[in-house]
């Protein structure tokens, strides 16, 4: 089997808050990490270890203080907000803990949102794709429902379908099951598995749940802003 392509690489990534002030604090102390195109990884660590900060930087929502982040080989440090937004739209998909749908729109319009933000009025092919994605997450019957007419698990599956709309290379999920009951959580986790297998999309899940991380192919342990005892990389 050939070596899978790299989709994201972090080199000596550091992040500090309150720079230049007495309460300056470094949250990430030089992270080195590589994600390949078919990875199914868990990012685990206690509260305050810097998981969210790392995820935001990997999601191009936040910028590192030092170090470099390569997305599909492209350095991102000197990109403008506009360029990072475009790159984010093209290559990354987000799933959040509180599913975060736009309440004013139906399930299918929420799934279409990333495509509409990039290309304007959706073409029939885009609608077809959104329909197919909702079917893939088992919601073909609920496409016209508003988020408040769906259960928590259903909303999270809409959010996953939305994250997949742009056919991303990497799916970033922040505690995607943290807000769900055990049954729904298992369904959602199984869905991530299916997506990774069928759509060749790398998945990185931030989680507290040890059972969830145990089911992933690889675990990244973050402790006090450094990666420890992980098979990929160790900065200390």
């Amino acid at each position: 089997m050939s070596k899978p392509t790299e989709i994201m690489r972090l080199e000596g990534l550091r992040k500090s808050y309150n720079i230049g002030m007495p309460n300056e604090v470094e949250v990430l102390h030089g992270i080195d990490l590589t994600l390949a195109a078919d990875d199914f990884a868990a990012l685990v660590g206690p509260s305050g270890s810097g998981k969210s900060t790392l995820l935001n930087i990997m999601g191009l929502l936040d910028q590192p203080t030092a170090g470099e982040l390569y997305v599909q080989g492209r350095p991102t440090r000197n990109m403008s907000d506009q360029q990072r937004t475009e790159l984010r739209g093209e290559t990354l998909g987000f799933v959040f803990q509180f599913h975060h749908l736009i309440q004013a729109f139906s399930a299918i319009d929420n799934v279409l949102m990333p495509l509409m933000l990039q290309h304007g009025k959706p073409k029939p092919a885009a609608r077809e794709r959104a329909r197919e994605l909702l079917a893939a997450v088992g919601l073909e019957k609920y496409m016209q429902r508003k988020p408040n007419e769906l259960s928590g698990g259903q909303q999270q599956r809409v959010a996953i379908a939305r994250a997949l709309a742009t056919n991303p290379a990497l799916l970033l999920a922040d505690e995607p099951t943290g807000n769900l009951d055990t049954k729904s959580a298992e369904d959602v986790f199984a869905l991530f598995r299916k997506i990774q297998a069928e759509r060749h999309c790398a998945v990185l899940i931030v989680t507290h749940d040890p059972r969830l991380s145990a089911s992933c192919d690889k675990t990244i342990n973050l402790v006090d802003g450094s990666i420890v005892d992980a098979p990929i990389s160790d900065s200390h």
Binding site: N56, L61, D81, T85, E86, F94, H100, M116, L117, G120
Partner: protein, 406 residues
């Protein structure tokens, strides 16, 4: 519609947000509507009122009057290095004819900015009937020319429109005071050892008491001979196309003819003052109502940005650019302005219709389409400007912070 095509997603989001926040949308729409209704109604009312006042004022007078310049005392020139003290009595102004008035009238007839030129002779006289004596103003005109200045036909209340061959027209007030009817005879005396009995052919009512109590229209020739100004005229009345240019045209014609030239604007300075004061106060109302509408929209959108912080964060994470977020909120401002102004215009239509049918009935208010178009356009633009600050704040939200906002 390219703009709809290009801004499709922004439109969808803006409309979605407005529909979701129904109560807010309804309240601000009513707020804008009330403001626009006030602006449109007040503007229409004032425009109607002013048009009516000007119409009534100018219905009975010329736009410009040309008169012979006053006679002045001629003073001997002052010798060099001397000072001269002069005690001067101003001269009494006798009735004099305008020199070369025929040529002046012919020349003025050619000018495009004038729609009517009417020479007349006007002077004082006494009218006698039995023991009653009234002082009056004789106005000698050529009817076909004077009709273009003041449409006497429209003001005739009885009799027929005829002057000449001892036929005269008198004001309704005067007729009442003298107790005369159409067909009665009166004696006119001009104090020039000239007195004449004339026949009342018609009675007019101009609606201005002063004129109705004093004016007697008669044939130009007859008036000339009665006032001792055979072949002369004392005034040339003019009418212009655009009444608000009367003053400039009056000055130009004054310079051209060397005559004293008075526009209605100069002779009705108080009226003009009142009208422009009214316009200023109307504009003040419009500006202040506009400002309060703008602040209303801005505050509703500011609240909306806070309420939608998390959704803005989600949109940013799903690929929305700062410009797109900015446009979503600018469009919401524009839609508030548009919706509110449409409702407001309809409301003001109802108000005007009510005023016209149930009001005091003093005058009719028209609502010109240009006023409506201007009100809608202005409200929409105001909405966009009012949205600028909240929209900027929305666009500049840090997605990392916004997404965790609860």
């Amino acid at each position: 519609m390219r703009i709809f095509e290009k801004l499709w997603t922004e439109w969808l989001l803006a409309i979605g947000f407005l529909r979701e926040g129904k109560t807010q949308t309804l309240m601000i729409t009513i707020g804008v509507a009330v403001g626009v209704a006030v602006i449109v109604f007040v503007s229409a009312l004032i425009q109607g009122l002013q048009a009516n006042v000007i119409d009534r004022t100018l219905g009975t007078q010329a736009h410009i009057r040309l008169l012979q310049p006053d006679e002045e005392n001629l003073l001997a020139p002052v010798a060099d290095n001397t000072v001269q003290f002069v005690f001067e009595d101003k001269r009494a102004q006798r009735l004099r004819s305008i020199n070369n008035w025929q040529q002046i009238v012919t020349a003025l007839d050619q000018r495009a900015e004038l729609t009517a030129v009417s020479p007349m002779v006007s002077g004082p006289a006494l009218v006698l009937r039995g023991d009653a004596i009234e002082s009056v103003a004789l106005v000698g005109v050529t009817l076909e020319r004077y009709q273009n200045i003041v449409p006497l036909q429209d003001y005739l209340v009885s009799g027929r429109l005829s002057i000449g061959a001892d036929d005269v027209l008198i004001g309704a007030q005067l007729a009442e005071e003298l107790g005369v009817l159409v067909g009665s005879k009166i004696r006119l005396d001009t104090g020039q050892q000239f007195s004449r009995v004339v026949n009342i052919a018609g009675i007019f009512e101009l609606g201005v008491r002063e004129l109705d109590a004093r004016y007697i229209y008669l044939d130009l020739r007859q008036a000339q001979s009665m006032l001792g100004l055979v072949g002369g005229v004392t005034v040339i009345d003019l009418r212009v196309l655009d009444i608000f240019t009367a003053e400039t045209i009056a000055q130009r014609i004054g310079r051209l003819t060397g005559l004293k030239s008075e526009s209605w604007i100069a002779t009705n300075a108080q009226l003009m003052n009142a009208l422009s004061a009214q316009s200023v106060s109307t504009n003040m109302i419009i500006v202040f109502v506009g400002i309060s509408v703008a602040f209303g929209i801005a505050s509703v959108l500011s609240v909306s940005v806070v309420q939608r912080t998390r959704e803005i964060g989600i949109l940013r994470a799903t690929g929305a650019k700062q410009g797109q977020i900015l446009r979503v909120f600018l469009l919401q401002g524009a839609l508030f302005g548009l919706l509110g102004s449409v409702v407001g215009v309809l409301t003001s239509y109802a108000l005007v219709a009510m005023f016209n049918s149930f009001g005091p009935g003093l005058f009719y208010i028209p609502v010109p389409p240009s006023l409506i178009a201007a009100a809608v356009a202005l409200a929409t633009i105001t909405g966009v400007f009012a949205a600028a600050i909240p929209a900027r704040r929305a666009a500049q939200l840090d997605p990392v912070v916004a997404i965790r906002y609860v």
